[in-house]
């Protein structure tokens, strides 16, 4: 028992330090690189407005467009690494904004609903839940071959329940247990276990896949 507890702590620690590093890089991209590029953009726009030779003006215009694209991409990279909403606004706004990005990335529509009042969650746990949802949605874009997903959050006094259901091709979930290559699903389950919650995946060929996540909300209050 002793040993398994400490192994779990080590796993938690490894994940947490990785998440902190990701968050640092994400912030650095957004506040550092992104801000500098923005200053360059404003400078170039100023120069462009003062130019009179058409070919130089045109050249500078193409250049400012390139910087605009780069700024946009830096912003998306930063959000993709670590959504700022997760730290500042909480899990629900972070998921909502991820869904927007997800649809514009993969073209898959998400029918989203959140029932009940959002409860505060420790950042470490909301990051875990967010990552698990992210993996579930990514799996759908990669494997499910469907344009529609249903995602629902239910906030109860004692727990948060999330379901992510697709009506795509499905797969044989049992076969995965002895398949070492598919670490994504194993990691989803592990991460939820480390938060004290659960992740259950069921799937049927031809009918689709459902991912059910639960996170206890009460214990968090003690610590």
């Amino acid at each position: 028992m002793e040993q398994s507890v400490s192994k779990q702590q080590i796993r938690s620690y490894i994940i947490q330090s990785q998440e902190e590093e990701i968050k640092r890089i994400s912030l650095e991209l957004h506040e550092g690189v992104g801000q500098n590029l923005y200053s360059i953009l404003t400078g170039l726009q100023f120069v462009e407005s003062g130019l009179s030779q058409p070919h130089l003006k045109n050249y500078l215009h193409e250049m400012t467009q390139l910087i605009e694209k780069t700024i946009q991409e830096i912003r998306l990279l930063s959000v993709e690494l670590h959504p700022p909403a997760l730290t500042t606004l909480g899990l629900l706004p972070a998921i909502k904004s991820y869904i927007k990005l997800y649809t514009s990335t993969f073209g898959v529509l998400v029918d989203f609903e959140s029932i009940g009042e959002e409860k505060p969650i420790q950042e470490q746990k909301s990051v875990a839940v967010f990552r698990v949802c992210q993996e579930a949605l990514t799996n759908i874009a990669k494997h499910a071959d469907t344009s529609n997903v249903k995602m629902g959050l239910i906030w109860k006094e004692e727990e948060l329940r999330i379901s992510i259901i697709d009506f795509g091709g499905g797969f044989v979930a049992d076969e995965l247990e002895n398949n070492a290559v598919t670490l994504g699903i194993a990691a989803m389950k592990e991460r939820m276990l480390l938060t004290g919650g659960q992740c259950v995946i069921s799937s049927k060929i031809g009918e689709g896949t459902s991912v059910e996540i639960s996170l206890p909300l009460l214990e968090g209050k003690e610590s």
């Binding site: 649809t103 990335t105 073209g107 874009a141 990669k142």
Partner: protein, 155 residues
């Protein structure tokens, strides 16, 4: 030019559909930078199996279309997702349309790459020199057709 207008632009449709027949591929699609802002989207597709492409915004520097817009050079993938750069999820159009191989060229407007013409197959395949040439020719035809709309700007 708005998306609906391009979908109804018969010249554009004709070029894409003819290219698909001539090369005998499963899928042809055209991505263009929006009039305003840096966003690049898929404006027209032929041989598509769903309408995901309509909602996809191409990311600058990511996936085959994003790389072409940032580099200005043609690219090919023969056996997706084998030997790809980046992650599988950096290639949404391949996933959305279940493509295994593709070849794509940039479209230039005002001297910069602002569009992509892509052909794809749902089997692994290496596009021959002459097929690549056909895509380039169609790309040039599209540049001509779309030039006035992209540069003219006016309503």
């Amino acid at each position: 030019m708005r998306m609906t207008e391009i979908r109804e632009n018969h010249g554009v449709m004709e070029v894409c559909d003819r290219l698909r027949k001539e090369v005998g591929c499963d899928f042809v699609a055209l991505a263009l930078q929006n009039e305003v802002g840096p966003d690049v989207r898929w404006h027209y597709a032929s041989g598509n199996v769903n309408d995901k492409y309509k909602r996809i915004t191409v990311r600058f520097g990511k996936g085959i279309a994003g790389k072409i817009i940032s580099s200005g050079s043609p690219m090919m993938m023969s056996d997706f997702p084998k030997d790809i750069y980046g992650k599988v999820t950096d290639h949404p159009i391949m996933l959305a349309e279940k493509l295994i191989s593709c070849y794509a060229v940039p479209l230039f407007f005002n001297g910069s790459p602002k569009g992509v013409l892509l052909i794809g197959k749902r089997v692994s395949y290496t596009f021959s020199k002459s097929e690549q040439e056909k895509v380039k020719e169609s790309g040039e035809a599209l540049e001509q057709l779309l030039r006035s709309h992209i540069l003219g700007g006016g309503p």
